[in-house]
């Protein structure tokens, strides 16, 4: 039982070492792909175990909780690892056609695997200091991936990215230190109990705000999001798709975990802050996107706006809203990664991702155009795609508790999202190419074409599937939401039966 919890972390790390040894060989990429498949097998085994509502935990190093490091998988944690695995497979296949030999020689595949290990570790850990360690692992790997190739604008974006993320981790670390000073424990389940028995609640609210700031920077919410659009359009397409799908969502996951498990006592204060943050994030993100003219920059601002919906679900703090937030996170990772993958192919065919220098894709690459529409409409929330159900849950949850403003902002943001997607559609797909170029897919080799299109089709079909058959995922999200709101099972799994 304990092994299955460790595998999603150990498999990518071992693969990373192999990939590093094979970085000058053409086998490196296949080893990397094999590693992601193994990781996915472990992740889905984990989902199968927790799908009946059980929570499993493993104590590292044979130290009993709360003294050692605990790995825990509940429905949310396992689902996050599984969706990480799906994104990893898609980007690993995509990388076969996107990452050149020079980047491979610099260690692309090793860094990629370390990033997957870091993300999986963050989703599975039950120890707050260990969460910090995984954040650092992710930060180092993602900085490496972002600056691979070392073009000046990449270094520029990378430095902004790393500086702000360091501020975030320092805030996080200070918060962890203060929390430890107050309660004497770092185990999240133990913290949940210890915090409830604290007499002085005042300092706790201060620490809660520090955590909102730290995870807020990570997940790019208003007004801390500006690092994201400044850096996500610079790295290789496969890398930006991976970042867009996963990295900010780790921040959102940490928010959800901490603000349901530990900081759930003064919700009138903390969740009120989260509510306003969420609404402003949705609006500024989508308005920022309207002002952009680069494919990937528009998508970057939309990440920000969509994060708002997830935080809104957390802020409303009803069972339906939390389930909606979980559903939203899972759906969004697939859709957003896919849109960046489409942007990569479109950019390759047209020779640029500047909308002013793109065009003619609908005529020359109709399949790509159709595959763009699925995630684009899903992002905007059109039925019957996955985004419709995600938005429906959040809006329904807002209306249920008469949060009219929240529901209005959610709907308006959806409409404005359509505006941006139409802009991309019009400029890149519909109108002819300004330089008279015909962006035929044949411009890529047959092998590269397959490697680039297959993952897009795979993710689009998943979006379509979730949209048409939402019940399994809805049920799973509801169960995850119930577990989050009543963490008794989680605490019992970690600490054993309490006296």
């Amino acid at each position: 039982m304990s092994l299955i919890l460790v595998l999603p972390v150990v498999v990518p790390l071992a693969t990373a070492i192999l990939c590093f040894a094979l970085r000058t060989s053409r086998w490196g990429r296949w080893v990397s792909l094999g590693g992601t498949l193994l990781h996915a097998a472990a992740a889905f085994a984990l989902v199968a175990i927790v799908s009946d509502g059980t929570v499993i935990a493993a104590q590292m190093g044979n130290w009993a909780a709360p003294f050692g490091i605990t790995l825990v998988a509940d429905a949310l944690g396992a689902a996050m690892v599984a969706v990480t695995a799906v994104t990893a497979i898609a980007t690993a296949v995509y990388a076969l056609g996107d990452i050149d030999a020079e980047r491979e020689r610099l260690g692309y595949h090793a860094l990629f695997q370390v990033l997957i290990a870091g993300v999986s570790g963050a989703f599975l850990t039950g120890d707050i200091f260990n969460l910090y360690v995984w954040f650092e692992v992710m930060l180092i790997a993602s900085f490496g991936l972002m600056t691979l190739g070392a073009r000046p604008e990449q270094i520029d974006g990378g430095i902004r990215y790393v500086t702000l993320n360091l501020v975030s981790t320092i805030l996080f670390l200070m918060g962890v230190g203060l929390l430890y000073g107050m309660t004497g424990t770092l185990n999240m389940a133990d913290l949940s109990i210890a915090v409830a028995s604290l007499e002085a609640r005042g300092p706790l609210s201060v620490v809660a705000v520090m955590f909102i700031l730290a995870f807020g920077i990570k997940s790019a919410v208003f007004p801390l999001f500006f690092w994201l659009p400044a850096s996500y359009h610079t790295p290789a397409f496969a890398v930006s798709a991976l970042f867009a799908g996963l990295l900010t969502k780790v921040g959102v996951y940490a928010l959800v975990r901490m603000f349901t498990l530990v900081f759930d006592l003064d919700t009138g204060f903390t969740h009120e802050i989260l509510l306003w943050v969420a609404l402003l994030t949705m609006l500024t993100g989508v308005l920022g996107a309207a002002a952009q003219s680069d494919f990937r920059k528009i998508l970057s601002f939309h990440i920000v706006s969509q994060i708002g919906y997830m935080v809104l679900g957390l802020a409303l703090f009803t069972p339906l809203a939390i389930a909606g937030a979980v559903f939203y996170i899972l759906h969004h990772i697939l859709v957003k990664a896919n849109l960046f993958l489409v942007a990569g192919v479109a950019g390759r065919l047209c020779g640029s991702t500047e909308l002013a220098r793109m065009g003619g894709l609908y005529r020359s690459a109709p399949l790509l155009a159709a595959l763009f529409l699925v995630p684009a409409f899903s992002l905007a929330g059109f039925p019957p795609l996955s985004g419709f159900w995600a938005k429906f849950l959040i809006v329904k949850a807002s209306l249920d508790i008469h949060a009219w403003l929240a529901a209005t902002v959610a709907l308006v943001t959806g409409i404005l999202t359509v505006f941006s997607m139409t802009k991309i559609w019009g400029a890149a797909f519909w109108t002819p190419h300004p330089e008279g170029l015909s962006p035929e897919p044949a411009r890529l080799g047959a092998g590269a074409r397959a490697a680039l299109i297959l993952p897009i089709a795979f993710l689009a079909s998943l979006t379509l599937f979730i949209g048409l058959v939402p019940q399994p995922l809805l049920g799973f999200a509801e169960m995850a939401g119930a577990q989050l709101l009543d963490p008794a099972d989680y605490i019992r799994a970690v600490l054993g039966d309490l006296p």
């Binding site: 304990s2 092994l3 460790v6 150990v10 790390l13 071992a14 990373a16 070492i17 590093f20 040894a21 493993a58 104590q59 590292m60 190093g61 044979n62 490091i69 260690g107 090793a110 370390v114 180092i140 900085f143 490496g144 600056t147 070392a150 270094i155």
Partner: protein, 144 residues
């Protein structure tokens, strides 16, 4: 930077820092310290050396590419974590084989898997910090 004083001093400083970093690594066994902080201090030594004598000199002094240092460290740490699995213990359980016997007939020199893990962490931190810093300094020199 072309300061003779810095260049002369950097050699001693780097050596001192490296020595101190190993002290911190070993001290971390039972007292505050350990692989992470040791690796950071060790990296500082090489960073000072690279500032004084140039990135090329620092890379030469390191002898192995910093990325390889990090990868080897990761392999050692992972090995230390996986070893207990072969003995049927949970992962990352500390193993404590003792070498020989102590002076008063007690236990000998402890060679634990915990130390192996810490050495791995030391190398990972040293390697990854130097990879980043030397890359950025390279870039800086090219722009000058």
């Amino acid at each position: 930077m072309n300061s003779v004083i810095l260049q002369a001093g950097a050699r001693y400083l780097a050596a001192l820092l490296l020595l101190f970093s190993i002290h911190m690594l070993l001290r971390g066994h039972n007292e505050p310290g350990g692989g992470f902080i040791g690796g950071l201090i060790g990296a500082t030594g090489f960073v000072i050396y690279s500032l004084a004598c140039g990135v090329g000199e620092a890379r030469a002094a390191l002898r192995v590419a910093p990325e390889a240092v990090a990868a080897i460290g990761l392999a050692l740490a992972l090995l230390a974590g996986l070893l207990p699995l072969f003995l049927g213990l949970p992962l990352f359980t500390g193993l404590w084989p003792f070498l020989g016997t102590g002076p008063d007939g007690g236990k000998g020199l402890p060679v634990s898997s915990v130390l192996l893990f810490d050495i791995g962490v030391y190398l990972v931190v040293l390697g990854s910090v130097l990879t980043l810093v030397l890359l950025l300094e390279d870039e800086g020199e090219r722009n000058d």
